[in-house]
């Protein structure tokens, strides 16, 4: 039985802690600054019509999101429970009248709030800067890109939380998070490309394997919100647009939601059965 008052109490505490966290502040400022700089750089300086395209800014922000959001989501999630384990704060918290579901959900909600606030700030300042430059067009696709970035952030946080439930030391959790980030951002893609080239893999399989990566899901969905086809992604993109048509975007949205739900639920299952709280292994 979940008491949502407890989830809220824990969530508010996590949100407050995250907003006080030095690295989180650095990330927020860096993301907002880069988003603002990108929005300024990619707009033509002296358009006669003063028409400003949100889509162009959204397109440039996709790469920023792909790099930054998984890094902060994974590391925030992965180190949260482990640092509490190391200090003994976790066992102390669990000795209070709360259950584990409330603890994990509360922590998740709080960190998710902090992460989404950062994204809102970054996308917000970039969008505001564009609005101030003149009339606007395709703001809808910009907002959809923001929504997709939210989903990606939550998916990365879920993966980080799952990692946090199965590791006992912050250093190991951080290392794991960084490796997963590298894998999702770089190694995964390179591996698929290499395998596809060497094994002459059919294009549909290349697409499906690639689309299992939540970052690719976000990228494909974000591109789809800006333009109607995926020519920019090459043959695999063309295959996807031809095969799935209008169903592709909803499929990718569902995929991202599954990447949020499955790791989080798995983390809850692992955490609810866990006996070991402290890495020192004191059982006396």
């Amino acid at each position: 039985m979940i008491e949502f008052a407890n989830v809220r109490t824990l969530g508010e505490k996590e949100l407050r802690d995250a907003l006080r966290n030095r690295w989180f502040i650095v990330f927020t400022v860096a993301f907002a600054g880069l988003a603002l700089a990108l929005s300024a750089l990619i707009q033509p300086g002296g358009t006669q019509l003063r028409m400003v395209s949100y889509s162009r800014t959204a397109a440039s922000l996709i790469n920023l999101v792909l790099l930054f959001v998984p890094l902060i989501g994974l590391t925030l999630g992965a180190t949260n429970l482990t640092s509490d384990r190391e200090t003994g704060a976790l066992v102390y918290l669990l000795a209070q009248p709360v259950n584990r579901l409330e603890v994990l959900l509360g922590k998740y909600v709080g960190l998710a709030g902090a992460l989404l606030a950062t994204l809102t700030l970054g996308f917000g300042v970039a969008g505001l800067a564009l609005a101030l430059q003149g009339s606007i067009q395709d703001a809808g696709s910009y907002l959809l890109t923001v929504l997709l970035a939210y989903l990606l952030a939550l998916a990365m946080l879920s993966l980080g939380f799952l990692m946090s439930t199965v590791t006992y030391k912050s250093a190991a959790a951080l290392g794991g998070a960084l490796f997963l980030w590298l894998f999702l951002v770089f190694i995964g893609d390179l591996g698929i490309m290499g395998t596809a080239l060497s094994t002459q893999m059919p294009i549909q399989i290349v697409f499906f394997i690639s689309a299992l990566n939540p970052l690719q899901m976000f990228k494909i969905a974000a591109i789809l919100t800006i333009q109607a086809n995926l020519e920019v992604l090459g043959p695999a993109g063309l295959y996807a647009t031809d095969s799935f048509g209008a169903l592709l975007l909803p499929m990718l949205l569902i995929g991202l939601i599954l990447w949020i739900v499955i790791p989080l639920v798995s983390g809850l299952v692992v955490f609810s059965r866990q006996e070991k709280f402290i890495p020192k292994g004191s059982v006396g």
């Binding site: 704060a89 669990l94 009248p97 709360v98 709280f277 059982v283 006396g284």
Partner: protein, 294 residues
């Protein structure tokens, strides 16, 4: 108030608690005594329902296996090492008060009780060890629970902080709270406990009154005395003739005594007209450190 029947806890092939049973009545102060690894902390964690176990455990009429959260609501817990988040004293108490559904006014009441009112805006990491332990006690008392579970609560405190803490817990026990605490300090058990459960390798090896513990377990203490340099050889000779194990260390001499016979060596030295300048009592095994002073 607390009933444990055939309480067993295994970690893989290791049995940490082996089929132990005990009952603790309301208002009792019961000590769990045992060496490191004997099962004290595990027993307390089972009471709190933070780890699974075999057997039956009820706290304040609540089956811990079935509703551990309700059992925890009936318990205030003070850990051996406090582990608070980076907040002020007031924020910490407010946070835990919300989780425990304590009324907001209770925060200031417990601050008064543990004498931390003047420190409420300090960050917790700025507090001394004794103050942190008092804060943990304040958190434990927020919802005014009938049971207090203390895991070696004074292990990391200095002598004065230990005495103050024990005094506060004694007062709480006198108001009717049931106290369960783990300890391997004889003086603490004697001062606070009304009964002792001795755990050894996961078994409930003995149950006795605190003053019987030393005799039943053959515990000893070290009496440390300070004598003038010119009397040191005579001191060692006299005590040696009377069968005492002694260990000189700088200007002091350690004398192994049984718990009931602490005064005897001092009387022997008095009869021999050797003035004892000061003395101290040390529990259990002795690790002599070289003196650099005096």
């Amino acid at each position: 108030m607390i009933i444990a029947r055939n309480l067993t806890k295994r970690y893989g092939s290791t049995t940490v608690l082996n089929n132990i049973s005990f009952t603790i009545d309301a208002g009792e102060a019961v000590a769990l005594w045992g060496a490191n690894g004997a099962g004290k902390t595990t027993t307390l964690r089972c009471l709190l329902g933070v780890q699974g176990f075999e057997g039956e455990l009820t706290v304040n009429g609540i089956n811990v296996s079935k509703d551990s959260k309700a059992a925890r609501a009936a318990i205030g817990y003070v850990p051996q090492e406090t582990a608070f988040y980076d907040m002020t004293v007031l924020e910490t108490l407010t946070f835990y008060a919300r989780l425990k559904k304590a009324i907001p006014e209770r925060v200031h009441e417990v601050l008064e009780l543990v004498q931390l009112s003047t420190h409420q805006i300090k960050r917790v990491n700025m507090l001394s060890g004794g103050m942190k332990q008092r804060l943990a006690l304040a958190v434990a008392l927020l919802a005014d629970p009938p049971v207090l579970v203390l895991d070696e609560p004074t292990a990391n405190l200095d002598v004065k902080a230990q005495r103050d803490f024990i005094h506060t817990v004694q007062s709480l026990n006198q108001t009717g709270k049931t106290i369960v605490f783990s300890s391997h300090r004889l003086d603490e058990v004697i001062a606070l406990g009304s009964r002792v459960l001795v755990l050894a390798d996961g078994d409930l090896a003995l149950e006795c009154k605190p003053h019987e513990l030393a005799g039943k377990l053959g515990l000893h203490r070290w009496l440390r005395i300070w004598v003038a340099a010119q009397h040191k050889d005579d001191t060692l000779k006299i005590l040696g003739e009377q069968g005492y194990t002694t260990m000189p260390n700088g200007r002091s001499v350690y004398i192994k005594v049984n718990v009931a016979g602490k005064i005897a060596p001092l009387r022997s030295l008095e009869r021999a007209s050797i003035p004892v300048e000061d003395f101290d009592l040390i529990d259990g095994e002795l690790v002599v450190q070289e003196e650099n002073h005096d």
